[in-house]
Amino acid sequence: MIGFIIHRVMQAFVVMAVISLLVFIGVYAIGNPIDVLISPDATQQIREDAIRAYGLDQPLWKQYLDFVTRLLHGDFGRSFVYNMPVLELIGSRLPATTELALAAVMGATLLGVPLGMYAGYRPDGVLAKTIMAVSILGFSVPTFWIGLVLIFTFAVQLGWLPAGGRGDTTTLFGIEWSFLTFDGLTHLFLPALNLSLFKFAMMVRLARAGTRETMLTDTVKFARAAGESEWTILTRHVLRLIAIPIVTVFGLELGSTLAFAVVTETIFSWPGVGKLIIDSISSLDRPVMVAYLMLVAFFFILINLAVDLSYAALDPRLRARRA
């Protein structure tokens, strides 16, 4: 078991190193940031000073080595545009994204799993077909389009909810949060709904497929033969059997929300990390892009590692085979 953990952790390190190289090279290929940073009519002297100040005159491998060294010291560089440490910049945007992602994933799970189980329990009913139709919409309609429709309906036509921004925030543990004020909640509602639809559809499908398959198994037959009510069967047996994939997806989705939030945050002008990355791509703010990608990669590797390790801990067969 310990050997397996060490093996996996080392693998994660190798992957991080490879990703850092790919990200660095990929980002290096985007345009020339110096053209964005200083005006075209700046003198040659100012130009060269700026290039030296940002280390852009060094060869690529030297820049990469410097970059890795700084990274290992926890220094992600300074944003060209905001002129502040990147880590601080991303950290200041993280609470907005976190609260949006949590609201979306929790809402999707709490609503999607029961509805999906019902759709799997009575696959031919009218309600089940309606649920599935909604889930197909949520699955296939691009997030940005749903966002537009939500803004048009609730902000422009009905005027019930604001179209963008974070609204009033309150400070808790030294961090600004929107969900603690009424105004903040009204601002949070539409983007969270927008972000959750895809996850809702996924939860519905997962729960439906699992329930459909589980309902055909002997477990359910025996439970019925033992005289248990359908409600007990669904909540006590089926829910437990389909819980493992749902919990896995819940964890993974929380991670991928970071990526999907890019679209939602852009549409709703939600000042989170996703909007930051889109802004920094268009302004060629290299340090921010690199740091963001590295953090997302790190995050995903961490999640995958956790999933792998918990599977190994839960499933004795995996433990025996890999040890």
Binding site: S140, V141, W145, L148, V263
Partner: protein, 296 residues
Amino acid sequence: MAGLMESTSPFGRFWSEFRQNRIALGALAVVAVIVAIAILAPWITPQNPYDLSNLVLTDARRPPGFVGSKGFTHWLGTDAQGRDLYSAILYGLRISIEVGLVAGALAFAIGVTLGTFAAYLGGRIEALIMRVIDLQLSFPAILLALVLAAVLGQGKGPLIAALVTAQYAYFARTAHGAASAERSKEYVEAALSTPLSPRRVVFRHILPNCLPPLIVVATVQIANSIALEATLSFLGLGLPVSEPSLGMLIANGFQYMLSGRYWISIYPGVALIVLIVAINLVGDQIRDQLNPRLRR
């Protein structure tokens, strides 16, 4: 006669079952109609929306039903450049479908080849390829496409490259799973014991038996790449302005939506949604029909 044909060929059997689901059948018809009008766009639209000399600025941002200075009715209104939206949507559909199909086909070819050969070769090469693919799958496709589109720049080629890179892994994963299962079967052993070349065994014996799950993935991925392309174009990282796909039409209309001029964004969006949903409905039915676990 027709009944006989249906019961003999696997495709005939598949089709007769498919036909029983009216929703899927309707969706298939919708897909066919959309593809047809997209192909016929130059002949059934009143103007070429990309020909700037055709556009009259005084006709810009007119509501649906407005009769323009060229004498024809703009049934879906006009956009900020005075473009007839009906024409722009049909041309936009052309681009979206083209990009989706090309990206889907390339991703299919690359992914399936990689996945099948990994399963066939086994050992360290298989482990390495699949490890890379698993890693990529754990990364959200949209983020990957976003970064690649930003790195590679604008244009159809870079966009398709970004879409293919983001999506080939799904095909590789599926092909690998199916091919690994086939690899251990006796008919493959038998074929390998003959002097047939390994490549022939992979492509003529193993691959055809892996097709059912791959068809399901292909339908979903074509819809996905159309949606992904629209998203990238919406964020300004897709096609150049000279070739507006549906995503860009929607993005251009977004700023006017807040002032109540909904049609510039809404109608291209409706066309996009109808296309994607219809493809997904067809894919859903195929998946249900090919899933052995739902057959008792």
